[in-house]
């Protein structure tokens, strides 16, 4: 019981997910994947496209996000994101649409290095889901 903490995922329309029996969360932070356990130091970071893995008692959920902000404080983990979807609900054709869009974006010569990096990340993650 003692190694559990609270997780809330919020998107602009509503509170997306609320769980209070989470043991570990792995987030795709901007500078690399990051695992968060109970009693982690207070943290603010933001996300790159990737997978959020949530481990709770006997269950594992995986969500795909494109961006977001993470705050961890007093054993409350808050994730704000404007684009999140459960992998199990994602249909293959939807993944393909996002993938081809991202591929088109990364070919674009006009974009900055940062945007290019993010687009390539997205492609990589989507390919791994497929």
């Amino acid at each position: 019981m003692s190694d559990q903490f609270k997780l809330e995922i919020v998107n602009p329309e509503k509170s997306f997910l609320l769980k209070d029996d989470v043991t570990e969360v792995i987030i795709p932070a901007y500078e690399g994947e990051m695992g968060i356990l109970k009693d982690h130091i207070s943290l603010i970071s933001f996300l790159k496209p990737g997978l959020i893995k949530i481990f709770s008692k006997g269950a594992e959920d995986r969500f795909f996000v494109e961006d977001g902000i993470v705050e961890f404080k007093d054993n409350n983990l808050t994730i704000l994101t404007s684009s999140i979807s459960n992998i199990n609900d994602m249909k293959k054709d939807r993944i393909d649409t996002i993938l081809s869009e991202a591929e088109k974006n990364s070919q674009d010569k006009e974009i900055s290095d940062q945007q290019k990096y993010l687009a390539e990340q997205k492609i990589e993650v989507l390919k791994s889901i497929n």
Partner: protein, 291 residues
């Protein structure tokens, strides 16, 4: 005096108007419930976003180099006003209240000798402002085709604003919208979003030492554009709830007024019918007497 036929026609016309306003009231009521729900569900996001930004800006030590979106461009010459109204009419004083608030603000800016630029969101605002401020309006946005308020639309507006800020087209940005208090009361608000006005926090600024990854200013410069879109999204949600509330009240009043009018006209109709009958009777009797 109007003839009986005319009165009858008027009564039917008022009655059918009443039917329309009644239907509109029902529609507004059901839409209101949905709009209100989504406004309430949207609050945690903007609140949390606000909290994080406060925490972040508290821990920034180097105030001079913090992002421009937070501290402003250092000048106060060009004001950008985003006036958010509805796309549809027949909603009482909803649009007029926002416009009135905005116009007072505009006048103040012009009196101070500053430059005024306007972006209208929603077609009704443009209609009301184009006469007096046609040259100041630099952009008009309307989301007539989208059914519900969504984040995607808000993001579009946010991008336009940030784009213009980066091109140094304005120094200060203020948004105007109606805050939804309850069905009867909506408060027209002005809210400055660039530079971010000293944010109010419910809990006192914590002394917590956060771990930041990457650096504070990098997070901030990523977060602030998102915050703009979030604030606009919040304003849009509040606005849509207010619009339906205001329409519901207006249509309720209209229905009641129509009812009163029907009553009055019916009395008038009955009286004149009776008068006509009495007149005919008198004519018959006096005709019979003269024989």
């Amino acid at each position: 005096m109007a003839s009986l036929d005319d009165l009858k026609k008027r009564i039917t016309s008022v009655k059918s108007t009443q039917k329309i306003t009644k239907a509109m009231k029902m529609v507004a009521a059901s839409k209101l419930r949905r709009a209100q729900e989504s406004a309430e569900r949207g609050r945690p996001y903007s609140d949390k976003m606000n909290n994080i930004i406060v925490n972040l800006s508290n821990s920034i030590t180097d105030k001079d180099n913090s992002p421009k979106l937070l501290v402003g461009s250092g000048e106060d010459k060009v004001h950008l006003c985003v006036v958010m109204t509805s796309d549809r009419g027949l909603c009482g004083g909803f649009n007029t209240n926002i416009i009135k608030k905005a116009k007072t603000f505009f006048q103040k800016i012009i009196d101070e000798g500053k430059t005024l630029k306007i972006i209208t969101v929603g077609s009704k605002g443009y209609d009301q402002l184009k006469r007096a401020y046609k040259d100041n309006i630099i952009e008009r946005i309307s989301f007539k085709e989208s059914k519900n308020v969504n984040y995607f639309d808000a993001n579009k507006v946010g991008k336009i604003i940030i784009d213009k800020f980066e091109k140094k087209e304005f120094d200060v940005c203020t948004i105007f919208y109606n805050q939804f208090k309850n069905v009867i009361t909506q408060i027209p608000l002005d809210q400055q979003i660039i530079p971010l006005k000293a944010l109010e926090t419910k809990n006192s600024p914590s002394e917590d030492n956060y771990e930041f990854e990457p650096e504070e200013d990098e997070i901030l410069s990523n977060l602030l554009p998102k915050n703009i879109s979030t604030q606009i999204f919040k304003a849009m949600l509040e606005n849509s709830a207010s619009e339906q509330g205001s329409r519901m009240t207006a249509m309720d009043n209209a229905t009641r007024n129509a009812g009163e009018m029907v009553d009055k006209l019916t009395i008038q109709y009955n009286r004149s019918r009776q008068a006509a009958i009495t007149k005919e009777l008198i004519e018959i009797i006096s005709g019979a007497e003269s024989l």
